[in-house]
Symmetry: C3
Subunit: 398 residues, 3 copies
């Protein structure tokens, strides 16, 4: 990015009527268009300032607490990196080392970890109907704690993946699309295929496909969602995409054919997930601690998966996309045929062709999270960033 272009972006940001101060980032579709654009612009600006050795340490101290209720590499390091970049200290709430149960004590824990905390990142994606709800319980407890004078400040929550959405992923993906296609307005009329793909594993969250169709349908894209019969998503998220298609002048189609989705696509996002109703059953079995039931569900589910091994993103399918060169996207790690598994989501040759592109896609995540923090915590974020760009305090001295 040139110096000119960062100035232009700062100007564009200063004109947007976004409203993110003191607001949590829980679902992209709760955010206005200006909010989404501001987040992308801010991520790009922060990335540029970082690359220009400008320090973004807006804090002298303060905690950024993360609570990962599921495994994570990319998001964990992105959250830690973003926090550290801004001068906050990432601290992981390891629920195993504390004595936290679901339910009644959520509001207590929320306050106990927040006395000097600015932001709380939460990943809770295993239980359908619960992850996002949990975040809102935390939010409500923080509201009360701040209102009642327990907390000096009310930390903002960043959704690091829930049962419904994965906004730090989809927003990083959007930044990637913006850079690849040369602008958000260039996405209009482009076809995006969000498709299921075969994987030898089971129980992968629905939040990525749901997040992608919910966000990309806002830019006038022709979004095609494809999955084998039975692998449907959470119905509410389908409605979000349908409504967006109407509102923003794109289209949204659901099909049971990977071929149909890939045909003339400009962007393909083939990725495995578990069927919504399986996830619902799984949630019940997990609560009941029914190990035999879980084992049985897994077996049935893998058997079912095995009927769709042909849902693989390979050269043949790629050749049917727009000019045979759709952009391949993935949230990583991908199940690569012959590499990380015998048969997987994508063939080795297709993945290798786009491997570095997927790394580049992932590289936006720390900056997206930093943008979410800055916009939620600083009323005059645009002015502050412009000021940093002028003053240019050094990130690395010497």
């Amino acid at each position: 990015m040139t110096t000119n272009s960062v100035t232009a972006k700062l100007k564009e940001l200063s004109k947007l009527k976004f409203d993110m101060f003191e607001k949590d980032f829980l679902l992209t579709w709760e955010k206005s268009d200006a909010d989404i654009r501001a987040t992308v612009l801010t991520a790009q600006i922060i990335r540029h300032l970082y690359g220009s050795n400008v320090s973004l340490a807006l804090y002298q101290s303060g905690l950024a607490v993360s609570n990962f209720r599921d495994q994570s590499t990319r998001t964990r390091f992105s959250f830690a990196s973003a926090a550290n970049l801004l001068g906050l200290m990432p601290v992981d709430l390891d629920e195993g080392k504390s004595q936290i149960a679901h339910g009644e004590t959520v509001r207590e824990t929320a306050n106990m970890i927040s006395f000097l905390t600015k932001v709380i990142g939460i990943r809770d994606d295993m239980f359908i109907g619960e992850g996002n709800k949990y975040m809102r319980e935390v939010a409500s407890a923080l509201d009360e704690g701040h209102r009642e004078g327990v907390l000096h400040q009310r930390p903002n929550i960043v959704n690091l993946q829930c049962d419904i959405d994965h906004p730090t992923q989809s927003m990083a993906d959007l930044c990637h699309l913006k850079e690849v296609f040369g602008g958000l307005d260039k996405l209009k009329g482009k076809k995006l295929a969000m498709t299921w793909a075969y994987s030898p594993s089971y129980g992968k969250p629905l939040s990525v496909p749901q997040g992608i169709i919910g966000l990309m349908s806002r830019f006038g894209m022709d979004v095609s969602l494809a999955y084998p019969e039975g692998y449907s998503l959470l119905p509410d998220t389908i409605k979000v995409a349908e409504n967006n298609a109407k509102k923003y002048g794109g289209s949204f189609k659901v099909t049971n054919s990977m071929e149909e989705a890939f045909k003339n696509a400009d962007v393909v996002y083939p990725k495995s997930w578990a069927p919504f109703n399986v996830m619902v059953q799984r949630t019940k079995l997990l609560h009941a601690k029914d190990q035999a039931g879980l084992k049985d569900l897994e077996r049935r589910c893998l058997d079912n998966n095995a009927g769709f091994k042909n849902w693989e993103c390979n050269e043949k399918l790629m050749s049917t996309t727009r000019n045979s060169k759709a952009l391949y996207m993935h949230c990583l790690p991908a199940d690569i045929t012959g590499v990380s598994c015998k048969e997987g989501e994508v063939s080795a040759t297709v993945f290798e062709k786009y491997r570095l592109a997927t790394y580049h896609e992932a590289s936006f995540k720390p900056f997206v999270i930093a943008a979410m923090i800055v916009l939620s915590r600083f009323k005059t974020a645009a002015k502050i960033l412009a000021d940093l760009n002028r003053r240019r305090p050094k990130r690395i001295s010497g």
Copy 2:
């Protein structure tokens, strides 16, 4: 707190003859009255400066090592927050990831983790006769390491709960009492009921009740300790409270009646703990890794507990306190009847009435720990804080 009142507190602090520089904080009753008052004042001043966006980053670098030999949420986050506030980096010594045994190698480990370390916080509350002793072994190893030129500085130790005392808790409680009653001198003549309460769990440490009677008896309070027959505390801590009552003109009584303790109390602190002699047996069984013995002890202990389910803090008991509105205190989490357990320490209605007050009580802990660090590491702590209050470097910029 107004600007005036922080100035007054800084002045008060500057006049106190406290002696905490380069001293560990292991037991409140090893500290002079001036030390205790200085710690409370410093915690209040730091809290005020924090709330006024004044940076307290006195360090550019340095480690604050914690060693939690038992689970923790509140204290873990309070220690990390305090360290970060002062510019230190909290690092947890996870003994499972190192190869640390009890005994001979304590002095080695103490030095190995301390080359660039300013403070070490230790929680070791499971073994009667050992937790506090362990802290002193670490202290002695640090003395030697510093004396012999191994360590550039001798880190100070903060007791984050041991078998005897829980000073960061009791000092936070004291700050709370000071604010609720309008001054430490206002505590004189107030009745505090530190009572056992029923809980369906077993093996809770004795350090909170011991810490409370050992500290609050220094302010001329009428301290009433109540527990069912057999649930006595460590004899030495009883003596501390008795001596304090004589010295400071309050009183200290032990009773087997919760009703008697609550009667006309200004403050009630109902909390479960295991009997001292059970903890002694448990320590032996833990050392012997006698799982059957432990199981048996637990069963007998829970059976015994079950005979005292009527030791619950409820509306009826609360109505017997001073004007029916004693201050309810708890170190959290509380066992709440019908909420976190079927029958517990406190009824849901009583707890709900004081829930936010208990959060407020807990909110002092990070500032108390920060005060302990500042007073132990800076000879001219009072002057430094006054200077910060004048210069007002920003904690959050932008």
Copy 3:
């Protein structure tokens, strides 16, 4: 160290033709003599500045990622301390909390943890033929990521112990020798005995003895490697020591007699390790997850060890060293007879005599790691340190 001597060291450093900028530190014998000398000097200078309350926070933000594939106390805290000293935030990659497998995905993980990362420290010492190789795979992935624009900067790798070398240990040991003997040039002609010693444990890495003979043979020392028949080291590392002896005018001898090695030694380093060929078998069994085989190998190995219980460093052996007062060294923790085990590497009286000296030896490690980071990341490291020494920004204010 006096102010004069730090100025002299800064001058000496500025004249050295070292070439460490943007280079990993994987094996000492890949480094030039100037590199080794620059690292020792820089460690000494940083140590002095640290002790003089000069802040070395060259970074406002940035991550220092560690990946410990084996347990660690000393190195873990040294790495965290060094990172924090320079203004970086240590973050541990806990592979158990992510989903990382060996092999194919190394290059992906390497990039995913590196978007805002300056240095990666790796310990991987359990598998013969793999630890150092793994580091080079990470290095190559980082090269690609940086070259292809995925990474803003290419983090440097510090070897925190592998199957071949343990450079942060051997370099700390070298700093210790330099201070004890009054200069690196004073090491010429001194006899160093690197000997095996009995331990009731099994499977200790070879990297320490290999690292010691590979490094100390560069200073004209007479290096004597002694071990019972069968306990040979990795053949390539023996060649390194042999070649060094020729090149630098010292000597390198292998013997099966501890007595011979100790005779007239100026320095002794008695330490247990597993035979190279046992480690090779163990690697295969670990890969095959052959628990019975591992159990059997351990039993046979311990039986074999037991034949060499007389390989203990005791008063009698020490009395045969130069003037009966060779410097005893150990990487810690040592297996001390009658203290940490029944029969071990060293008698209690010998160890106690040198205990604080071994702590002092260990105390160089954080500064050695800081030196490795500074030299690999700052082209004008010598100038930057000289500048800090002039400006003297405060590490602790107040």
